[in-house]
């Protein structure tokens, strides 16, 4: 009896935690569809009050958020492809024990995880390369994550060597073995790492703040930040009138920015977990 109620209390407690985690999202979602009056009166919690889509209408008319979203899609698609190509190929090469200089390469890459050159030298380098104010300033400095590279390398090392040996005897070179044998066997890890890269690119923010000035190139989140700042300038004074309308527009912008992630999240979530567990096996 005691055991039963303890289990029930535990289940309930976790439901409460899950609700607290979710509540801010639901609240903002409700704000985006609620009337200014209802928000100001404090009537909105997790469900829209006096439902309307005026805030979304304003954002669509304004259009800037969608230019920014287009930029983010380009950054994400191209960036993830570049990252996956560079990471997968390098991980495959480094997973081969016969490769001369392998230890040195691995040590060299490991060191970059421990010590970095800092922001300013990187900024000056990008300026010398004349790629500031272009998407290359986003793609190139984060082309390979050393951590993802090590995860993938360890995974390739677990593939049975016999498969490749027989292919080698049949005269297949490394490109053929890589493409026809290793890639098909590694779908789950490739999916997981692509997703980590894609989320990173979709969420790209600080690099854009550091390296992009041209407002035409702004990714979604930088634009969103500007909108949030514009409306929270008024945070310090509590005069209601100036705050009302911006609140629901801000909420609508947040909803637009996370909608794509929320749409794909339920389907891809299991790959993320798999990726973390593969990584923990030891990089």
């Amino acid at each position: 009896m005691v055991k039963r109620s303890l289990a029930a209390a535990n289940a309930l407690l976790l439901a409460v935690f899950a609700f607290i985690t979710l509540f801010p999202f639901l609240n903002v979602l409700a704000y985006s569809f609620s009337s200014s009056r209802a928000i100001a009166a404090g009537e909105v919690f997790v469900w829209p009050v006096e439902f309307n889509v005026a805030a979304f209408g304003k954002l669509i008319d304004d259009g800037q958020l969608f230019v920014a979203m287009k930029n983010t899609v380009i950054i994400t698609v191209v960036g993830t492809l570049l990252q996956m190509a560079a990471t997968t190929l390098a991980a495959y090469a480094l997973s081969k024990k016969r490769l001369k200089g392998r230890k040195a390469f691995l040590g060299m890459i490991l060191f970059t995880m421990l010590f970095g050159g800092g922001l300013i030298p990187l900024f000056l380098l990008l300026r010398n390369l004349q790629i500031l104010d272009s998407f290359w300033a986003i793609w190139l400095p984060s082309l390979v994550s050393a951590y993802n590279l090590f995860v993938m390398k360890s995974f390739f090392e677990t593939l049975p060597a016999e498969l490749e040996e027989s292919a080698t005897i049949d005269g297949a070179g490394d490109p053929v073995i890589f493409w026809n044998i290793v890639v098909p066997l590694s779908k789950s890890i490739l999916a997981a790492i692509s997703l980590f890269y894609a989320v990173g690119m979709w969420n790209v923010y600080s690099q854009a703040v550091y390296f992009l000035n041209d407002s035409e190139l702004m990714p979604l989140l930088v634009r969103l930040y500007q909108m949030i700042q514009q409306t929270s300038e008024t945070l310090l004074d509590s005069s209601e009138a100036s705050l009302i309308q911006p609140e629901s527009i801000k909420a609508a912008a947040i909803v637009i920015a996370i909608a794509p992630i929320l749409c794909v999240y339920p389907f891809l979530q299991k790959y993320f977990v798999k990726g973390v567990l593969l990584g923990s096996v030891k990089g």
């Binding site: 055991k3 289990a7 535990n10 289940a11 407690l13 976790l14 899950a18 985690t21 801010p24 999202f25 609240n27 903002v28 704000y31 100001a40 404090g42 919690f45 560079a86 990471t87 190929l89 390098a90 495959y92 090469a93 490769l99 001369k100 390469f105 890459i109 490991l110 970059t112 421990l114 010590f115 970095g116 050159g117 800092g118 922001l119 300013i120 030298p121 990187l122 900024f123 380098l125 400095p141 082309l143 490394d174 969420n203 923010y205 600080s206 703040v209 550091y210 989140l221 969103l224 930040y225 949030i228 945070l235 310090l236 609140e247 912008a253 947040i254 920015a257 992630i261 567990l277 030891k282």
Partner: protein, 299 residues
């Protein structure tokens, strides 16, 4: 050597893009660190700018603002270790006791979600729900307790609390994955034996579950301590405002402001170098401690 080069020419080609990346974007900037010892002038470039010795470090250590920033960085990290670090352990213990598989999966999926959302969005949401005039938290406080609006985001008392709670919000759920995996690896026979001996849930957790995940806790804790000098730019930048600079400004936001916005390249490089060197020392020390404890080191 020649034979292996010919045999493995494809492997070297495969390695080329990745390796060039590390050389160009990770190693070449290390050369730029000498700026910390120079007075950088754009027209002269890095190499031809005049040497300045330890001038920038001297200024750094005598700069009151820098000590505030260092203190904030260390304090926010301390809160992180005391309050944010244990959260996923507690959550994982609770999740581990759930018997309904579908319910467990549902709760996990909901708890993982904030991990995938950028700080721009999370910060925007925090500001929205905590707004003194239109935020839902203040509405609830007013309605249930009759409290006047609290200005959470502009109060130097509340800001670090909000910052720490928001870290828990983002990371606690996702952080349970490694602990849950470690718990799944514990021999079920141990629990059975404990039950036969009459041990209750609390004692089973204390004597079996926690010792079973000790290694995971140790490694993650020490990794966390290795990052003591680092508070992420995005979280702070998206939650701070002029009213709370005195408790929220950290090294990453400082370097951005004086370096990129203020164009004091040499001084900002000195700050970054100081942070990097301390960080490296911490990681190396920490790895030694892991090994001394009999766990596998990080390398």
């Amino acid at each position: 050597m020649k034979v292996s080069l010919k045999r493995d020419v494809w492997l070297y080609l495969f390695l080329l893009p990745g390796l060039s990346f590390f050389l160009l974007f990770k190693y070449a900037p290390l050369y730029g660190e000498i700026l910390a010892f120079k007075d950088f002038r754009i027209v002269d470039g890095i190499w031809n700018s005049p040497w300045a010795g330890f001038k920038h470090f001297d200024r750094l250590f005598h700069d009151e603002e820098f000590w505030t920033i260092l203190r904030n960085t260390l304090l926010l990290n301390l809160y992180n270790i005391v309050f944010v670090f244990p959260a996923p352990i507690v959550l994982a213990l609770l999740l581990n006791e759930l018997r309904l598989a579908w319910y467990k999966r549902l709760v996990q999926n909901l708890l993982y979600l904030p991990n995938f959302i950028s700080w721009v969005v999370l910060g925007g949401i925090v500001v929205t729900v905590l707004s003194p005039s239109t935020g839902v938290v203040n509405h609830i406080l007013a309605r249930v307790f009759g409290i006047d609006p609290v200005y959470f985001m502009v109060s130097t008392f509340w800001w670090p609390i909000v910052f720490t709670l928001s870290s828990i919000w983002q990371t606690a759920g996702w952080g349970t994955i490694l602990y849950s995996a470690a718990m799944a690896g514990i021999d079920p026979g141990l629990y059975e034996a404990a039950r036969i001996d009459g041990a209750g849930k609390a004692r089973q957790i204390w004597h079996i579950t926690l010792p079973g995940i000790r290694g995971t806790i140790a490694i993650l804790l020490i990794l966390q301590m290795g990052r003591m000098m680092d508070v992420g730019f995005e979280q702070v930048y998206n939650m701070q405002n002029a009213a709370v600079y005195s408790v929220s400004d950290v090294i990453s936001t400082y370097v951005y402001r004086i370096g990129l916005q203020g164009a004091q390249y040499s001084f900002a490089t000195a700050v970054g170098l100081f942070q990097g060197v301390i960080g490296l020392i911490l990681v190396l020390t920490v790895n030694q401690i892991i090994k001394k404890m009999g766990e596998d080191g990080l390398w």
